[in-house]
Each structure stands twice: as C-alpha cells, then as structure tokens.
C-alpha cells in the first residue's frame, strides 16, 4: 500500500530477537484461572495462532497482550516494551482487532478511521490521508460515507482490521478475525491478512477454526482451559498428534445402529460428529472397513489428519464443541 507498509527489518524487538514474548502469564477472575501459566513467543514477521475452543482463554490472552486487562502475574514483552509496566506504550505501537468489531455507530466509515487515527496520535491531515489509503487497500472506498450499521458483517470486520492499520503498526493482535463470517468474506479477510504478513507485519491471532490456523499460521499453540497444551508448525502438530488418515462415514439414520455394532464388534474406535462417523485405525493407519462395503446408507471417504484431529487427540474433545 504505502512506503511504510514495505518490509522493514529494523523494527523494535525484544532483547532475544522476538517481537512478542509471553512468560508464565496468569489471569484469574476470582477463583477461575482464565489464563493459567502460558508461555510462548512470536518472531518478527511471523503469524502465530492461538487455537482453541470458546472459553479456552484466547480472548483474555489477547486483552492482556494489548494492555486492555491487567495480568495477575507473569510477564509480557512486546517489541522491547514491558506491557505489565507500561501498557500505554504498547498501545502506541500495536494494532488491535478486538473480537466484537467495536465500530462506532455514531460515525461514518471514514469518520471511524479518521477519529481512531487522530486519537492514536496522527495529525488531522495524516489521519485523513491514511484513512483514504486503508479504505483503498480494503476496497471500502465507495462505502466511505456509509453508516457503520449499513455494512455487511464481512465489511464490518474488514473495517475493524483497516482501523488497526491506521497507525501502520508492525505488530497486530487479532481476536478471532473471521468468526461469524460467511466463507466468501472469510477468504477475503485471509487474502488481506496474507498481504499484511507479506509486508512484514507480525500477527498474533486467535481462532477456533482449524482451517484458518492451517492456512494463516506459521506456528500455533493449542489452547484449552487457560493452558497451552502443545506448540509447533501446523505440519509438526499434525504429524505429532493426528492420524495419517481418517475415514469418514456418512450414515443414514436407519443404518446407524448396524454401523455402531460393526465398529464396536471389531474394537475399532470411532466418534460421531453430527451426521458423520469418524473412524481412525490403530497406529493412525487406514482402518479395515471392508465389512461395511455394500451396506445400504453408508458412504465412506478418507481424508488426511488435520488440526481438528490434533485438538481431539490432545484434549479428548472436539474443537467445535467448545
């Protein structure tokens, strides 16, 4: 988009070269530990994901990182700034996309951007100029004078991301960037995030979509009950925890009972997700389902193991169950 969007290698880092460094972070609400001792770090230019169901502590982690919430204990460093001690300084350099867009319904699209930029410290002239730039980049220029409530969900989300770009931040945290969006809007947001990443922006995102984590993240953590259970690249995680192949049986209700009996009789482990029966063989190999061939109302297909399976393997629960 503009010059300051191009790759910069000299932006501020922590002493050890990372951009975000979280150590043994805790956040308690009364007796509940929302974040229960997490440690992770994000390297310059990296897109890092926190993958977990609702209530895993992702949003709380995001709020702690952006200085919106005081930590109970632990340490957070962002680009050399101690967030616990100086949360105003971190808000000067970090872009934040909160979970609920937080758009101002009393203002137009353009005014949302302009006033945010002004509040963040840009001069009036620069805030106006920058608002035009980000509207252009996010293809929202023709909606510039629209009321926020006239926008579609996807546009609102993209406007919220555009707003975080007003100060041309080198680090952005995004809390569930595509939750609630239709597939088309989601793809669009992903494309735009890819461009940001390409320009050298370090991104920390939270998500409960395994597809999103797979596509966007260089590295990710699996989070549940306020804890990080494992960390790695998506491929590493799948190799470590997921079966190579998973059989998926689409079963009509009438045939469900005989399928269950067949699998139980052969000691094959399975789980039912909606109308699907997922079957994983021993050692992650293809299970022997020959006995189900020709059974009416059963269609079998195979897919590769994915992050959904990783989550199940680590926590014993479905990611989408919450």
């Amino acid at each position: 988009m503009t010059e300051d969007q191009h790759l910069e290698t000299d932006f501020a880092r922590n002493a050890n070269g990372t951009v975000i460094e979280v150590e043994n972070l805790h956040k308690d609400y009364g007796d509940i530990a929302a974040v229960d001792g997490i440690t992770f770090s994000v390297n310059p230019g990296e897109t890092y994901g926190l993958l977990g169901p609702n209530g895993a502590g992702k949003t709380t982690t995001m709020r702690l990182l952006s200085g919106l919430s005081p930590a109970t204990s632990g340490s957070i460093a962002v680009a050399g700034i101690d967030v616990i001690k100086d949360n105003r300084a971190v808000r000067e350099l970090m872009g934040v996309v909160t979970q609920h867009d937080g758009l101002d319904g009393g203002l137009t699209v353009f005014q949302n951007l302009f006033l945010y930029g002004f509040l963040a410290g840009l001069s009036r002239a620069r805030a106006k100029e920058r608002a035009h730039e980000v509207l252009e980049f996010f293809s929202l220029r023709d909606r510039s004078k629209a009321n926020v409530y006239e926008l579609s969900g996807g546009m609102k989300r993209r406007l919220a991301i555009a707003r975080s770009m007003m100060t041309s931040p080198k680090v952005i945290v995004m809390d569930e960037p595509t939750t609630g969006l239709d597939p088309q809007s989601r793809n669009r947001v992903w494309e735009e995030m890819a461009v940001l990443k390409d320009s050298g922006v370090t991104i920390l995102l939270s998500t409960h979509y395994m597809e999103e984590a797979t596509i966007l993240c260089d590295r990710l953590s699996i989070m549940d009950h306020g804890k990080i259970l494992d960390e790695g690249t998506p491929d590493q995680m799948i190799e470590r925890h997921a079966p190579k192949e998973v059989a998926q049986l689409r079963v009509v209700p009438a045939a469900l009972r005989s399928v269950r009996e067949y699998l139980t009789g052969r000691n094959i482990s399975y789980r039912e997700v909606g109308a699907l029966v997922s079957v994983t063989g021993a050692n992650g190999d293809r299970p022997d389902l020959s006995g189900l061939e020709g059974v009416e109302g059963v269609r079998t297909s195979y897919r590769a193991g994915n992050l959904e399976d990783v989550f199940l393997a680590i926590t014993g629960r479905e990611l989408r169950d919450g």
Partner: protein, 265 residues
Amino acid sequence: MNISIPALIPTLGIRRRSVSGIWLRHAVSFLRYWKFVITWVIIEPVVVLVAVGMGIGKLVTEVEGADSYAEFVTPGLIMGSAMFHALFETSWNAYNRIENDVYETALTTPITVTEITLGDILWAVTRSLMTTVGVAVFAVILGWLNGWSAVGIMIPAVMVGAVFGTMGFLFSAVAPHTTFLTLVFTLVATPLYFFSGAFFPISILPDWVEPIAWAMPLTPGVHVARGFALGSFDITHLWAAIYMVALTAVMWPVAIYLLRRRLIR
C-alpha cells in the same frame, strides 16, 4: 476483584491528544445528527420557558428580587436544561458507548480511562453551553434577560455541566441495563429540576426542607445564574460556586474508578 489504589487517583500524565480526540469524536457525531438534537437543545427548553414565563408569569405578580416571574424563572430554566444535557450525555450516551465497545476501541489506542472521562465531561460541558446560549439568546429577545447577564450565566453553565457531566458516570458505569438509567431522571434530574429554586425561591419551602434543597447539586447553579440574571451578588454566590467545584472534584475520581472497573477487567 483487582482494585488498585492508583485507580482512585487521577493520573497526572494526561495526554491532551486523548482528551481532544474523545471530544472531537462527540462533536463529529453530534454534527451528523444536529438537526434532531437541536430540537432538544433549544426548541424544547424555549417552549418550556415561554409557557412558564407567559403562562404562570401572568398568575405570579410578585417574586422576591425580580421585576417579573419570567425574569426570575429564566436563569433557573436555563440551568435546568444545562443539567439535563450534561447528565444525559454521560449517563445514557456514555452507557451506549460502553455497551457498543466505543470506549473499548478507544482504549486500544494510547488512552486512559481518566482521559476518556475528561473528554466526555468536556463534551457534556459543551452541550450545557449550547443549550445555555440557545435559550439565553431567546430570553434576551423576549426581554427576560439582559445581554451581559446572558454572557455571565455561561460561568454557572460550565459549572453545572461539569457537576452533572461527572455525575452521569456514577450511573452509566454501574448500570446493568438501560432501564436502570431511568433512575437518572426519576431520582436525580426531575426532582432537582423542581426543587433547586428554578421555579420558586427555596425560602418559601418548609423550614426543614430548606437545608436539603440548598444541598441539592443543581441549587448552587441556579443561585449563581440568578445572581447574574438579576445583577446582584453576595458571598453566598461564591460559596455556591465553590460547592460546585468541590462536588465535581469529589465525584470525578469516583467516576474514573467506576468506569475503570467496568472497562478494564
């Protein structure tokens, strides 16, 4: 709960950009809808002023210190309107800003809760001034207020705006739902409007009610405004002004504390 002592003390490091940014946001938003808001800022209080001044004014032939009832009631009504606008701004409007994450978004920039309250209170004062100017001009045209008095009552208007702009947060920051905010009007605005000496001198109230009426936070505003309107001052006007400044100074840290508790969890 995580309550820290520093939250009770307004930070000294107030960033001017944050305060002006919040004020500007309200001004921009106001200008988008000014045609509607102006009816409440000027037309509604003018309707009340004319009705009371011309209607009740005909029945009341004698009122202490003033030549006519209309002259007596004008500064009171203007301060009443100033109170309503300031209070509405930081109760209803601020509550909506809490609920719609407007403050949350602002807090992702380098801004503090203290600065948010300051920007909002300044905007509340601005609204008090708007209604004061609007109605005062009308009163001058009607001959119920002289020009210099109209300029003078800007001073109590600012003070009333600060008192009630600050007070509004004591409701919005703790309100569980909008219905709760009805209390702002049933418990505060409406009783104060009628018992703060706007419509009749406090001296005609029963002896035991008088001190209560004097303690009401709108009373000093009406008292000072009437001093300007009638052009006569004594030491009580100074006390009234000090009382308003003190009320604001006491409520502001509480407002910051309550809003912090609501926004920073």
